[in-house]
Each structure stands twice: as structure tokens, then as C-alpha cells.
Symmetry: C2
Subunit: 81 residues, 2 copies
């Protein structure tokens, strides 16, 4: 059993309205000194019956094809197990 | 400048319809052997003018108060100085 952790983030320069909203909400709660907040996705994928290298290839493929929108998003992943 | 990475995940046992939808979409693309997919949030927070220990206290507080819904979500974070 292989566990992959995928992190999807907006590319630098892409506006992040959700991050901005969180920042404003925190400032409203009197938190000071927040420079920036960026919201991304964190996906845990459990795979069965794959070797680590197969899983690595497959997860990269999934990211390119479905999980990330590579026009505006970057992805990275870690594979455990 | 301090950078915090916050990971918010659904607690074990909480249904994850978005994760299920992603799983079905990947299966539709002929990926085999997917046991489970869980979707969470990944938040990058940049703070100014705080020590590492202040930042740690503050981020924990932000998670409890606003970022995570602790009834159904777990959170963890890393702080880079």
C-alpha cells in the first residue's frame, strides 16, 4: 500500500481571492502582521498493488491530467510506503 | 519573516464527497488500484515581525478559531523561520 501526499498551489502572480478573504477575516479577529495568505489543496491518495516507481509515475500523470490545472497551478507530491 | 504551512484534513470517519468524486473521475480515466482519496486544504501564511514561538502560538490559535472546523477537521502546521 502506497500513500501519496499531493500539494497543489496557485502559481506566483495568480490572484487568490480565497486567500485574501481568509487574510481579511483574520485581520478582523485582530491578528496583526499577516503579510500574505495563499490557499491551496492537499490531497492524500492511497494506492494498492503498485511499486513506488509506478506510483510516482502515475501520481505525476494524475496531477497533469486531472488534479492540478497546470495553467494556473503548481503541484508537488511525496510518496510514502 | 516567518512562513507557516498549515494542513487541514477531514477527521477519520468523516465522509469526503469531494475526495470520492475525484476518485471516480480518476477511475473513469482508467487509473486502477485507487484505494482512497481524501481532499484537504493547504494554507501558506507569511507573517511579519513575529518570533518563531509567537508565530507558533498565533497560528495554532488561528487554526482553532478560523482556519479549521475542529468538529470535523484536524490540522497540523510547520513553521519555517
Amino acid at each position: 500500500m502506497i500513500k501519496a501526499k499531493v500539494y497543489i498551489t496557485l502559481k506566483k502572480g495568480v490572484l487568490d481571492p480565497q486567500g485574501k478573504t481568509i487574510k481579511q477575516a483574520l485581520e478582523h479577529l485582530e491578528y496583526k502582521g499577516i503579510e500574505d495568505i495563499r490557499l491551496g489543496k492537499y490531497i492524500e491518495i492511497t494506492l494498492n498493488g503498485k511499486s513506488k516507481s509506478e506510483a510516482e509515475r502515475e501520481i505525476k500523470d494524475m496531477c497533469e491530467k486531472l488534479l492540478a490545472n497546470t495553467v494556473i497551478e503548481d503541484y508537488r507530491f511525496e510518496i510514502e510506503g
